[in-house]
Symmetry: C2
Subunit: 356 residues, 2 copies
């Protein structure tokens, strides 16, 4: 499988073998249901696949997928190139990739759930994920500069990299506690780590750090929502889009937990083709105009209290055409280089034996 | 992570690094739902994770989990030792591990499904999987010789390695066609391969071979059911256990497809603590008494037409205490050795470059 990317930074052996000291998987978190006769069922855990390269760096990368997604987010790309899993294994990082509770391999939940007959909604996702614009019955049109492969096979793979939630995972639900019960248990098990989140897992990342000091840094790719302390809520943002309004709603957490976010480097990464100014009537497009404003509010509140939140807009770093999935876009090695640079800047990439 | 097993065969570097030329994942098979306006949804595919070692052997191993299970079956064991994935990667085989349609990472199905509130049923599984005997409210008791770790942490991991079906996958359902649509598409994509099945995927393995000549051999660990041609149905087996009766029901397939099974080596592998003679009233225990009789019927019908089906009862090979999951039992390296021997005997393990 040949790595074929628009931007190559060269000289770092992106095609070298991946040499693993070990790899495996385990469940973490979860609860036990016990019947009156002592019989049991084990439910609501997360599932973690890990790979530890030989001579690994000190801090592993914990990778958490977004809404409707699972571990695939970080694995090989829709067109078969290396994703962040392979790229960062070759760069010496251990990886722990999560399927969150009630998703994919963590899908065994306690509560009853009805999954409805699937309704076509790729057009909405096409817009939300910023491949371009698709308003049926018109044909989809890629953005001119989009860093997504133009062949039908890649798009087919992309549409298949989703899995249903076998339980609730929305913002209002105690599931959020269940999510961070699992991630916090993972961090207790593996020790100090670097957390990557994406989209809907952004919220879980913030709350995981509020609960567990083993999170040494968070890099969040287009986090869908943000936490705020009760005494510093952000201003309203005017929008007529119900999804944008729902995600813009601040998640209020206690001040003590929020302040934990001021203790670590945090980077928020945004791609291209985000309308910054004018409300959009295209389903899915309005979301990001609102979201990037919320990101600024979040940065400002954390940093007002001594935090180190930075916003990395990829176009400002010279990378154009990135979608909602920069880590698997055609230029993902350049995106990975920016993550490597961030970790190096903060002294978070030392080589050191002793991981387990 | 130290490999700690009762039986070590030594000298083959089971603790050496795993050196991969590539690894990744993809969806295969499945269908597309198209709405009246041209919008789409992609559903009912299988999900495949692959790893290709440097200097791989000619034929990859395709590994298919059983009922209620997913890729974990072949990954690291409940107590963190290497499973067949790691063992056979170190022995030079590429691995393609399936999450079948409507399970785990292949969980996006088209049809509506209701998952009920989880009911405790570990006791039944304890018996079916032959860890020992558990009849609540009595405490579970391991078989004296069972090759399962005795610590609570391993059992906890074991109970969590299940995921719900997000759709039907029972014997009577057209899902079975959907299953082998996906596996046959996988074999078209990757070429001649060796297929490992387990329990409920046994049936899918037989039908995959009936459809696709790229299956060069099947090794099936305790397949739950068997196919027969319409003119050679097996005799009835008397049992009062409804689950045993259901699984003993022959799956009737056309003669032309059945005859494809005569063209390849097939091994059926059974563990220990199977009651061979007397019907049992313990839920789950009766299943295997019936199943091993069916296995003999299957072997005899295939071999009557020139086939090469053999039954490997592990106790007869000197391995005692194996459960329904021999590939992850404490003596799984010895079980792997028997698979290696089978492949060597049939000339199915050559080293040869050219895999993709």
């Amino acid at each position: 499988m040949i790595t074929d990317v628009g931007i190559r930074t060269g000289g770092r052996g992106e095609d070298d073998p991946i040499v693993l000291r070990s790899q495996g998987s385990f469940a973490v978190g979860g609860t036990v249901v016990t019947g009156p006769d002592g019989d049991t069922a084990h439910v609501d855990h997360a599932y973690v696949q890990y790979q530890i390269p030989v001579n690994a760096r000190k801090y592993p990368l914990v990778m958490w997928h977004g809404g409707g997604q699972f571990s695939k987010t970080w694995e090989s790309t829709p067109d078969g190139r290396d994703g962040f899993q392979n790229i960062f294994l070759r760069r010496g990082f251990a990886t722990y990739i999560i399927d969150q509770p009630r998703r994919g391999r963590g899908g065994r939940g306690e509560a009853a759930v009805t999954l409805p007959t699937v309704q076509p909604m790729n057009a909405l996702l096409y817009n939300i994920f910023r491949l371009g614009c698709w308003v049926p019955p018109e044909q989809p049109r890629f953005f001119d500069n989009v860093q997504f492969p133009r062949d039908a096979a890649a798009l087919e793979q992309y549409w298949r990299q989703t899995a249903p939630s076998t339980g609730t995972d929305d913002l209002e639900d105690p599931t959020r506690i269940l999510m961070t019960d699992a991630s916090s248990a993972l961090l207790d098990k593996i020790g100090p780590s670097l957390l990557l989140t994406h989209s809907a897992s952004g919220q879980f990342g913030w709350i995981t750090r509020a609960r567990n000091a083993n999170v040494k840094a968070i890099v969040s790719y287009e986090p869908a929502s943000f936490v705020f302390p009760p005494d510093e809520l952000p201003p309203e943002i005017e929008t007529r889009d119900p999804l944008a309004a729902a995600l813009a709603k601040p998640i209020v957490i206690p001040r003590a937990g929020f302040d934990k976010l001021t203790e670590i480097p945090i980077q928020l990464v945004y791609g291209d083709n985000i309308e910054q100014h004018n409300p959009s009537h295209i389903a899915g497009a309005e979301l990001w105009r609102v979201n990037v404003q919320r990101a600024v509010h979040f940065r400002d509140v954390v940093n007002r209290h001594g935090g180190q939140v930075e916003i990395l807009n990829l176009p400002e770093a010279g990378l154009h055409g990135n979608t909602h999935f920069p880590f698997s876009d055609l230029n993902n090695i350049a995106v990975a280089d920016l993550l490597s640079a961030f970790l190096r800047t903060h002294g978070l990439d030392p080589r050191e034996a002793g991981l387990q």
